[in-house]
Symmetry: C2
């Protein structure tokens, strides 16, 4: 028996008991004729005491032990002379009578502490050591608990977890597939799923009514920061439902998770039209932990001689509370920040509503005090506030102002960690125009249904049609999204026509699922959540990497195991492929 208790378990009531503990040496302190060792395992830390008086040889042995050695000890639980109320086990220590080294350890390349001295690259290489640190351990435990509670909730709601295949078929639409050469079928390939979309819709055709799966998905995309080539999805589909049935079930799921895992009662989720989200926040995933909504100024700012605004499609701004005290230099720096290529604003117009009631602006010479006052009124600005205005093409300007709003939210500490503001964004456009191919693309996918009242528009003005699609947003991050699917053949044909598909093209690309739909497809819809992100956002973090046990770096490489890597020629031969020569 390696242990009678874990290192997180002993309390004052265990005093006098003989115990056996096993764990890692977190640290060791020699004090005169004593040595104290903090022994660590997943469950906590227990202090071990060795003294010269009790056993000189044992003390000498203890002093030879290094950090991260794995040891087993036997001893008696005693009350500590000086207690540590930061530690659940802080009232006791174990007076050691026997010591076994289970495994020696080299000195780790960085410290195993909450704040480590190791750099990013080094910690990725020794991920198995980085995972010993509390912040990562807590993330893994949070992730485990979120998975357990997700399944508990969905099971209680009558969902069945059904596993779908990983070795599937490459489809030309969508992102790039990872493919897998077949040894048994020369010249043929499997593909790894970007999502189980087709299979979950088939399961609805099969009558499974409520399906879910927590499942790995794969996309061979150029990696941006915080994107992984493999990621985990909570994938769900329901039959005989309308949009609000789905929103209710999954709002319930996220409330359940926050309640059970974090002890937080989330409010009912407000719903926002996509058009409103774009108009008021310049984003389809607004952070509504704070206000600072956009106000448009076209009627108050144009045709008064300021050419920049006169030529702009949109003049729009936000009001930063209490920022009238910004110096000229502060505003110049903010303007430079906005002009960086990542954001690309041409300039930034400001109006200060000073504490004394006077108004000062960069565009004083074009606008009277009355006009500037009318701008301030639109923002319901108070003395001490700063109004910041951008102008230009509508979509680009909104996007830039969204960045500015988030930045000001950060500066004013309005994006409070530990506060959670969930939101449904609904009524997305069904189609988006693609300038390159001069045709519409499906914003979600070609099986997304239009909202009922827009079906007429499919023939006359397809760009105006709204989709019966929805995203769940939390604190400015998209947690998940989905839609009601088309289950009616005629409507599906209209959709393909709007997308510019010939019948033959539609058949070639989607014939398989279309075929299944001929055998009695129920009305259905679903949603998918990014599980990595769901967990990280609930912990108040935006990066997902430290919520994945063994992530890849930004080049898609696992530096710990050194993958991808070369394989043998024999392997390639068996798979009937060659490396392409570099000529």
């Amino acid at each position: 028996m390696y242990r009678s208790h874990t290192c997180g378990e002993l309390r004052i009531e265990h005093v006098g008991q003989n115990v056996t503990l096993s764990g890692w040496i977190q640290k060791s302190r020699a004090l005169g004729g004593m040595t104290f060792i903090d022994l660590r395992d997943r469950y906590g830390i227990t202090q071990l005491a060795f003294s010269e008086e009790d056993n000189k040889a044992l003390l000498d042995d203890a002093r030879k032990l290094g950090r991260e050695y794995v040891i087993q000890i036997k001893g008696e639980v005693i009350e500590r002379a000086s207690k540590n109320d930061q530690l659940p086990t802080g009232e006791i220590e174990v007076k050691v009578t026997e010591l076994n080294v289970l495994n020696a350890a080299q000195t780790p390349p960085f410290t195993i502490e909450d704040e480590t001295d190791g750099g990013e690259e080094l910690r990725m290489k020794y991920r198995y050591l980085d995972l010993r640190r509390n912040p990562l351990k807590n993330n893994m435990m949070l992730r485990h608990q979120m998975g357990i509670e997700t399944r508990k909730y969905l099971d209680q709601q009558g969902f069945l977890e059904i596993e779908t295949p990983f070795l599937i078929k490459s489809t030309p639409e969508g992102a790039r597939d990872f493919i897998v050469p077949s040894r048994m079928h020369e010249g043929e390939f499997y593909a790894l799923p970007q999502s189980p979309q087709t299979f979950k819709q088939l399961l609805m055709v099969s009558g499974y009514d409520r399906y879910f799966q927590i499942v790995r998905c794969f996309r061979d995309e150029d990696l941006r920061a915080d994107r992984q080539p493999e990621f985990t999805q909570i994938d769900c589909e329901m039959s005989f439902v309308e949009r609000d049935d789905i929103l209710a079930v999954f709002e319930g799921m996220v409330k359940h998770l926050y309640k059970e895992v974090k002890g937080i009662d989330l409010p009912d989720f407000p719903r926002m039209q996509y058009d409103d989200a774009m108009r008021l926040y310049g984003s389809d995933k607004p952070d509504i932990r704070f206000g600072m909504q956009f106000n448009e100024l076209n009627d108050l700012a144009k045709d008064q001689g300021f050419k920049v605004f006169d030529q702009a499609e949109l003049v729009v701004g936000i009001c930063a509370p209490g920022c009238a005290s910004y110096s000229r230099k502060d505003i110049d720096k903010l303007t430079d920040w906005m002009k960086r290529p990542q954001i690309g604003a041409k300039g930034l117009v400001w109006v200060k509503y000073n504490e004394d009631g006077t108004i000062k602006s960069a565009v004083d010479k074009f606008y009277s005090q009355e006009v500037l006052q009318s701008w301030l009124d639109r923002f319901e600005a108070k003395p001490g506030d700063l109004v910041l205005v951008l102008s230009g093409e509508t979509n680009a300007t909104r996007k830039q102002l969204n960045e500015l709003r988030l930045e000001m939210g950060n500066r004013l500490e309005l994006r409070v960690k530990g506060e959670y503001a969930p939101l449904w964004v609904v009524d997305f456009p069904l189609l988006e125009w693609d300038e390159d191919s001069q045709r519409f693309h499906a914003m979600h996918h070609p099986f997304t249904a239009p909202v009922a009242e827009d079906i007429e528009l499919m023939d006359t003005d397809p760009g105006k049609v709204k989709a019966n699609a929805y995203d769940m947003v939390m604190n400015g991050v998209e947690l998940g999204g989905g839609s009601i699917r088309i289950h009616d053949k005629e409507l599906q044909q209209k959709m393909f026509k709007a997308l510019g598909f010939s019948d033959e093209e539609a058949e070639a690309q989607f014939g398989f699922l279309m075929n299944a739909f001929e055998y009695g497809a129920p009305p259905h819809g679903g949603i998918a959540f990014g599980f990595d992100r769901l967990v990280s956002v609930s912990a108040g973090e935006e990066s997902i990497r430290d919520f994945i046990a063994f992530p890849k770096n930004n080049a898609g490489r696992d530096v710990m195991i050194d993958s991808p890597s070369a394989v043998s020629n024999e392997q390639l031969d068996e798979l009937h492929i060659n490396l392409k020569s570099n000529d």
Copy 2:
């Protein structure tokens, strides 16, 4: 709202209520001025009634509906005139007042009934229709419930589910890997995991103490019947444990599953030495639902002039109770069955213990009645029994007799469906001699620890060393297996030496994990269960295919989606590979 109730929900107490139901038409019966439709969904079947008297137009519409149409109806729940006590909803029917066709359906290519008229190939092609049938639906629901209960149990036992990567590194040992060409790293490949073995051992090094994962694994092997290229594993690992700790936890898990999912209390699992399993059953996974153990006859049968036995390494038999009545023809047929190439026996010696106490045998002329009686005594045979004896090289003969024992068990209906006989097989050999390469191979893998008392033998007689490894067996099927791992560097070096590795080879193949072991590896061990098989065996079925929603056929092909398939040259170009030309 598509429905107020499911098709499995209505009972006599709902009579008088107006309800809305949606579902598929299972069947339709016209009877005079009435039509009855069985409406089906996942939850059950409800009878709908249409009558000429109530609404002629509606009746006419109902008569136009085909099998598997998806419809929605509104109506009133009424008590049935003739009740059906086979159906939970059999006391009521719904008098329909409104009918909406949600989707028409083509006539399915086979009947959606418990016993279908569709052949295997057709049902695979239309898997989404086959999945509508009750037997498959029940399998999927069973699988879901086993997954939920597995996680519940392991969570309660303090295990954390931690996801490990799917895009990993190809390793030369073991079965063939599926590999995935990297677009971003020219000439390099990921591999899909055969199991998360390395990662779960790393998680022990990381201090996670108790890990599990229900996870897809991949093996590119030539497929035998009932093997899938992708399969699901319950993968587990624990730290600071000895063998019996692991057996206790996972015996507990399987007991929990049978109790919660099937309402069955399994007995404590007996433990059997690998050597005994081979000696008594000729198999490392004996079906102990029935006895019919082997008895060896070397001492009673050799050196008495019967050359076949004299030259044999082993003479061994079983006693088939009540089979003395087998005719000469019956025995000839059984002998032919044993001589088929799949089994390969040279012949079959029989001894009949007739009901009248006389003894008759194929080898009468070589053995006296007294000697034959001594054989019967060894089997504790009773009048009416038939003893069947094989001889030859030990391993081959045991294997053949195992087949015969299972066959006789089937014929005598001793392998009772619904009876469950679990078993631990322990103390496997650590190494097996490979004639081809003239060296030892690890029977499990090179990190499996020997049992403590055999460590001495590692240097002197490695072939005799027993592994600290164990398999869980149920009704003759291996459900899972695992081992205590080596965590000590010196012992690991002994192991590599016994396997004939040079230091350089050991480093090249296993350097990565060995390296991690230098930083404080705890004593650890684990187990992995085949989840597909765990579910199928619990349902009393040996084939796993119908417990997987979308399986591949024996050629590794998904005939429903037609995968694997060709991909475009653009895709291959991006991945820096060519198809090998066929010259």
